[in-house]
C-alpha cells in the first residue's frame, strides 16, 4: 500500500556532476533560474594542530554534495500555510501545487526549509518538483533518478527506505522534525549530521 513516496540520496556516491539537476530542468522544460532539483556543496574545516608533532598545523578540510528536490514531506508546511489551498498532498504522498489556484504570494517559499517551491516569473505562480508524477503513472522512474550516472538517487516508500538505510539526516538539510521530509540519505564519510554542522554552503554564486 503506497502512502509516502520518498527520494533516496547516497551522499557517499554523489560526484557533484549535476546531471539530475539538468535532467529535471530538461524534462520539466524549466527556465534556467528554476531548479526543482538542486545539487549543493557543503564543506568546511581548517588548520588543526598535528596529532603527533607539537607546533605543527595541518589542513583538515571536508566537502561533499547533496542533491535535493521537494521532499514531499509528511507534514508539508507549504500546504498548511498556503492561503489559497493550492498545495495538496496525494494519497501516495506526492505534494503538488495547483497553479490555477495559486495567487503567487510566495508564502510557501518562506515556510519550506528546503527551498522547494520556486516562483515562476513568467506565469506569476509557484512551481515545484512533481515527483515526475506523469512518469510514475506509466511505471517509469523520475527523470532525476534515471539520469544519475553514480546511481546515487533512488525513490520508493519512505518506511522501506528508512528500514534499509536508516533515518539520519545530514547537513545542510534542515532538522527533519520540522516537516518530516520524504527523504532518506546515506551519509558521505565526511557528512555532518543535521543540526551539528560546522561548515557552510560552498556553491559558487553563479551555480545556485
Amino acid at each position: 500500500m503506497a502512502n509516502q513516496l520518498a527520494f533516496y540520496f547516497d551522499a557517499s556516491a554523489c560526484g557533484n556532476c549535476k546531471a539530475c539537476q539538468v535532467a529535471c530542468q530538461d524534462k520539466n522544460d524549466l527556465p534556467f533560474y528554476l531548479r526543482w532539483r538542486r545539487v549543493v556543496s557543503y564543506g568546511g574545516g581548517g588548520w588543526v594542530p598535528h596529532d603527533q608533532y607539537e607546533g605543527i598545523m595541518v589542513p583538515d578540510i571536508f566537502a561533499y554534495s547533496v542533491s535535493v528536490a521537494c521532499n514531499h514531506c509528511e507534514n508539508p508546511m507549504c500546504a498548511d500555510v498556503c492561503p489559497a489551498a493550492a498545495i495538496s498532498k496525494r494519497s501516495d504522498g506526492v505534494v503538488l501545487i495547483d497553479t490555477d489556484k495559486c495567487i503567487g504570494c510566495r508564502y510557501c517559499e518562506w515556510a519550506c526549509p528546503y527551498g522547494a517551491p520556486q516562483f515562476n516569473e513568467e506565469i506569476g505562480v509557484m512551481t515545484k518538483c512533481t515527483f515526475c508524477e506523469d512518469l510514475l503513472a506509466v511505471g517509469d522512474n523520475p527523470a532525476c533518478v534515471d539520469s544519475c550516472v553514480m546511481r546515487a538517487l533512488d525513490f520508493g516508500e519512505l518506511d522501506e527506505l528508512q528500514a534499509k538505510y536508516g533515518k539520519q539526516m545530514i547537513e545542510p538539510l534542515a532538522d527533519p522534525s520540522i516537516t518530516s521530509p520524504g527523504l532518506v540519505v546515506t551519509p558521505h564519510k565526511n557528512s555532518q549530521l543535521a543540526g551539528e554542522g560546522t561548515g557552510k554552503l560552498m556553491n559558487l554564486p553563479e551555480e545556485v
Binding site: 500555510v81 489559497a84 489551498a85 495567487i103 504570494c105 527551498g115 516569473e121 505562480v125 532538522d175
Partner: protein, 307 residues
Amino acid sequence: MNVREWALVLFTILAQMSVGSFIGLGIVHFFAQKKAGQEEADRFSSRALLAIWPVMALGFLASILHLGNPLNAYRAVTNLGTSWLSREILFGVLFAVLGFAFAILQWRKIGSFVMRNIVAWLAAIVGVVFVFSMGQVYMLPTQPAWNTMATPISFFTTTLLLGALALGVAFVINYSIVLRKNPDCEEAQCELLHLSLRWISIVTVILLGVELIMIPIYIAALSATGSAVALTSTSMMIGEFGVVFAARLVLVFIGAGIFGVLLYKNAESPGKENALANYAYGAFVLVLVAEVLGRFLFYATQAQITL
C-alpha cells in the same frame, strides 16, 4: 528588498495604523462624550473616523501588489483551517467592512446608539484579532528571526503608536476646519483638542519606552538561541543595515520622545494651538518614517532555514 517586500511594508504599516486609530478614536470619543456631550464629541471625532477607511483600503491595495497572480486574489481566504495568512486576510477584510459600516452609520446617525456601539466594538475586536493574525503569519519554524514574541509585540506597539499619532494629526486638522467654519472661540473643541493631545503624548512616550526596551531584549534573545540563521539576522541588523537601524532609533526617539514631551507641554494650556499642530505633525511624520524603516528592517534582515 524588492517591490514585493515594500508592498508588505506598506500593507502592514497602514493596516496597523488603521486599527490603532480606530481603537484610539473609540476611547477618545468615549471620554469626549463624558466631558462635553455627544454633539461636541461627534464634531471632534467624525472627520477622523471617515479618514480611517481609505487608509485601510490603500493598505489592501498595496497587499495585492505583492501577488504574482492578482486575478486569484479572492482565493486568499480559502485555507482558514491551517493558514494564518488566510485568517489575516479574512479578519482584515472584516475589519475594513465593519469599520466602514460604522463610519457611515455614525456619520449619518443611522440606527440606535446601542446598535452603532455594537458595530464599533465588533470592529475594534476584529481589528485586534487582525493584528494578532498578522503577527502569527510570520511566526514560522523556518524563520527563527521572526518566530519570536517580539513580532506580535512590535506589531501591537506600531498599531498603538501610529494609531495615536495619526489621531493627533487628524484632531489638529479637524480643529482648524471647525475654527474656519466658525471663527468664534470654540472653547469646547479647544479643550478637547488639548486634553486628547495630552493623552496622546503620554501614550506615545510610554510606547517609545516599550520599543526601546524591546529592541535590545530582541537582539539578545536572538543571539542567545545560538542558531546560526538567527545570528545572520542580528548581524545584518547591526552590520549591513546598521545605518538604517540607527536612523530608525534616532527618528523614533526624536519623534515619540522629544516631540512627545513638547506636545505634552504645549497641550497643558490653551493659546498655543499653532505650536501644538506643528509638534503633532512632526511627531507623526518622524515616527511614521521610523516605523517604516523598522518594518523595512524586519523584512530585509529575514533569515530563513532553507537551502
